[in-house]
Symmetry: C2
Subunit: 257 residues, 2 copies
Amino acid sequence: MAEEISGRSDQTRILQLLWGKTDTPKRGPKPKVALSDIVAAAVIIADAEGLEAVSTRRVAEAAGVSAMSFYTHVQSKAELLDLMLDHVSGAGSVPPPEWPQMDWRARMTLVAESLWQHYLTHPWVLQIETHRPVLGPNTMAAYEVALSAVADIGLDEIEMDLAITSLANYVTGAVRNAARAQTVKELTGMSDDQWWHAVAPFFETLDYSAYPLSARVGSIAGETYGLGDPGRAFRFGLDRLLDGMELMIARKVSTRK
Amino acid sequence: MAEEISGRSDQTRILQLLWGKTDTPKRGPKPKVALSDIVAAAVIIADAEGLEAVSTRRVAEAAGVSAMSFYTHVQSKAELLDLMLDHVSGAGSVPPPEWPQMDWRARMTLVAESLWQHYLTHPWVLQIETHRPVLGPNTMAAYEVALSAVADIGLDEIEMDLAITSLANYVTGAVRNAARAQTVKELTGMSDDQWWHAVAPFFETLDYSAYPLSARVGSIAGETYGLGDPGRAFRFGLDRLLDGMELMIARKVSTRK
DNA sequence: CATAACTTTGTACGGTGTAAAGAATTAAAT
DNA sequence: ATTTAATTCTTTACACCGTACAAAGTTATG
């Protein structure tokens, strides 16, 4: 019963934290650690050991405070996860020097690849189900760079947003298998390829007659590149998606003339 | 020290369960429930209350056995999750009657849309991080139907697999925002749109000069369809992806002649 | 110096996944 | 028919989880 506008203040609190718009209290002891220390500690743990290793006690200890002191900096674990998301979004928010000379397609490819790399570096990001879009400064900076990839090529604002959004959507979808394979390999030392060879004998005992196409395609695809190359599907789909965008752009430019 | 080939048997156990290739034991009491009862109970809970409501105790109780009896049917919770994944993959594995008359593009659109619907019906599927691809009968049946969408249009086996895989990749990526919005709305009663209007005042206090494109694009896109229509980005990207595939197919056909 | 505001800490609770041990049940071996 | 072995079910227990709550310590203001 302290806050009259509690409903709204809950919603905006995370945004205030992300943008550093919280008014620092005057009285009371100085905090032992800053919020960013806690978030950074959590990210280090998640990068090294996965999201399930990120417990409030672990993070508090790593940051140098006791378990419950954690909760004076962060309202809940869900809030910590949101903060972590924006924290790691820093990468890719600064375009390379040759950016101005690149055409839109090279730029979008670069955006897609850096996003791909981002998810492989922080695979736990894919596991977090946030309550709302995390509109922090780092996330917005990355969005800004992505938008600049398709600026001034004849798209209106809606199309620019759709182009970037669907590119990002595609990458997040395509990277899941790659991230899983990488994570599991790190944890168990067994690659998808090795796993495939371990279970292949079992599949030979199955009756495949109900799956004629799968049997044909699966075995040929398997022979060619195993289960082991999610990057190949990524690049294939990316090229198709960009081809489709090229078509749309060309169509727009021609009708405008 | 019971199994000599323990390393391998662990890997294939889940496959044996999925394909019903486990040899039923002769001695001992009859099980009170079947494995499928447990998996079905877990899926019902996940559909209704989300993945975090699926605890071993909850599932065991819902299935009608005591907490630890659960573990005689299933080796671990991870194994249960794998079984749940194949269990719900049944939908979309039977093509509609007009399938033979449809062209590849209409078919792939249908595959994408039914996959989209699948994830919205079972949003918890997106949260599960499996150890390995779950190659159960239902999953394979869905793959078979998807492959049949692009059979006999001039693609080789590798290209067929790549086309289907990248289509599925795209859908899983695009559906995440839609699933989140739907789930959060069900849980909190607040739509993304309502949330946006609740936090919009905060954003007006920010200095946007560092994000000129985002400010322009974001506000125009926001005015036009809020945060509220992930389906629009889905259809946009899908059309681009299919356009790109059309280009590839046309190129293949023309070089063959 | 008292007080109010604030951070930190310790204890505690209900929940989680599952290990371990024992009891009950069934089929095969004697 | 009785023992034996295999299997399921149940109980108890443990370490860990997120976090509510109360108490103690710390700092700026009245």
